[in-house]
Amino acid sequence: MPRPSALTRPFWDACRVGRLTVQRCTRCQGYVFVPQEFCRHCRSTTLTWVETAGTGRIVTYTVVWRPQTPAFTAPYVVAVVELDEGYQMISNIVGSDAAGAAVGDRVRVRFVRVSEAVTLPCFELAA
């Protein structure tokens, strides 16, 4: 399970209330994920957290049949999702039709609560 740091806590706090957020630079308007202390595009330290639309497309994916640990139930789908804002994140594709995922498919965020402290931003295939 994620162990948030001071830098990443806002991301996980927002997930708990059903909002997918990302760092955005107030100077160059660039998006930064995973969280870091300054802008990757212009090196400005003026990053703020903004909510995203939570929609995007699958850049690539893999169906995992050999689970990382017994905590995971195979098969599960790991994907790189490019959000419509233009940044990428790794996540799981969930839902009854996840096994049919393909490169280029449209997806939208679906929050999966796994504990009191942690809600994971997964994605599902968009209709």
Binding site: M1, P2, R3, P4, S5, T8, V34, V59, T60, Y61, T62, V63, V64, W65, R66, P67, Q68, T69, P70, F72, Y76, V78, A79, V80, Q88, M89, I90, S91, N92, V103, V118, L120
Partner: protein, 376 residues
């Protein structure tokens, strides 16, 4: 001493016995055993060693310092790379600068992979934005392979062919953990169970135990020794960021080794056609395609055709992974990086345990973004 005589050469290179498990051994004991073998191969003593890059087990933080102290060495130079191709380049640079005269590169692992309900401990990336999605090494590397295969319409059997070649090399190698298991066809690879699509079990590296070590010294010192010194012709290493942290897309993976490879060939002053042996890190089958493209042997998307029809088999023009690599010879977590160097040295000395490439004069060794060119 002149600059030419301070040039570094590899003078010793050895693996211990490799096995799925080595009961009673520890990471320290197999790393020590490999150290003894490589120094014996070189005709040198521990007292000659004044530089060290060591990684017993997974002690990334202090492996070199702790192993050097445990060996009873007085002060010693330490490298910062994981023992492998980049560590060879780093050691050669240290020797040529006069920071030390004789460098030991050593690593090994035994007794670390005990929880067989999970994947091996070195494949469970713990990053906050990785671990929670169930990623482990095969899934991580499958992502870039899947994207490439989609982009260039590559059928799985073309990638499976690569695994069959490497596993057949190992099947012929009496020192390989999976000696005698072949022959394999691409269909055998595709018939094995899926691990992380598109990678089947037999597209993936194995896990095993053992140690490996390499010794470098000055060309001048090597002249007094009884062994063929292997020259470090050029090399380099590329990073695109911390591993197991950011999305491993094809566009990122494709950059690994491009600059390093260009720098290696430029310094060596040789062309791609001068290379006889290709000791690529075969953690997953498609990686062999990626390396040929990254090193400039063919364009992006051309790799599956480039490797086909025997080109990468022993007897072909571009023989790869001639000991059977991590798929068949051994994969110990990290010291398999040194095994690639050891096998290149043995090929160049004409001493490969199997699959000897006739008259091999130049070998290229790659591990992820690391490249070194070796020659005799």
């Amino acid at each position: 001493m002149s600059r030419a005589s301070r040039r570094a050469v590899i003078i010793g290179a050895s693996n211990t016995r490799q096995a799925r498990t080595l009961p009673g051994e520890t990471s320290g004991s197999v790393t020590l055993a490999a150290t003894r073998l490589a120094l014996g191969d070189a005709g040198l003593d521990l007292a000659d060693v004044d530089g060290l890059t060591a990684l017993p087990g997974l002690d990334y933080a202090s492996g070199s310092d702790a192993f050097g102290y445990a060996l009873g060495l007085p002060t010693f130079w330490t490298g910062r790379a994981v023992p492998g191709p980049a560590a060879v380049v780093e050691a050669a640079q240290a020797i040529e600068w006069g920071l030390c005269d004789t460098v030991l590169l050593a690593g090994g692992q035994a007794g670390l992979y005990t929880d067989r309900g999970s994947v091996a401990p070195w494949t469970r990336p713990s990053h906050e934005f990785i671990e929670c999605w169930g990623l482990m090494t095969p899934a991580e590397w499958a992502l870039s392979a899947r994207e490439y295969m989609h982009r260039y319409s590559v059928k799985p059997e073309r990638i499976a062919y690569i695994a069959s070649v490497i596993r057949n090399n190992g099947s012929r190698n009496p020192e390989a953990v999976y000696h005698g298991r072949g022959p394999f066809t691409p269909d055998d690879i595709l018939a094995s169970r899926m691990i992380a699509d598109p990678y089947h079990l037999l597209d993936c590296c194995t896990t095993s135990e053992g140690g490996s070590a390499v010794v470098l010294t000055t060309a001048e010192r090597a002249r007094d020794l009884d062994r063929t010194g292997v020259e470090v012709l050029g090399g380099g290493w590329d990073s695109w960021g911390p591993s197991y942290t950011h999305p491993p897309t094809y566009d990122r993976a494709a950059t690994w080794g491009r600059k390093a490879g260009a720098a290696a060939f430029a310094r060596a002053g040789i062309s791609r056609d001068d290379v006889d042996v290709f000791e690529f890190y075969d953690n997953f089958s498609w990686e062999i395609v990626r390396y040929f493209e990254a090193l400039g042997y063919c364009e992006a998307g051309e790799g599956p055709d480039f490797v086909a029809e025997g080109a990468i088999e022993v007897g072909g023009r571009y023989p790869v992974v001639t000991d059977g690599g991590t798929m068949s010879h051994s994969h110990t977590g990290e010291s398999q990086r040194l095994q690639r160097v050891v096998q290149a040295v043995r090929q160049l000395r004409g001493e490969s345990a199997a699959n000897q490439v006739p008259d091999a004069r130049v070998a290229v060794v790659t591990v992820v973004g690391e490249v070194v060119l070796l020659g005799v």
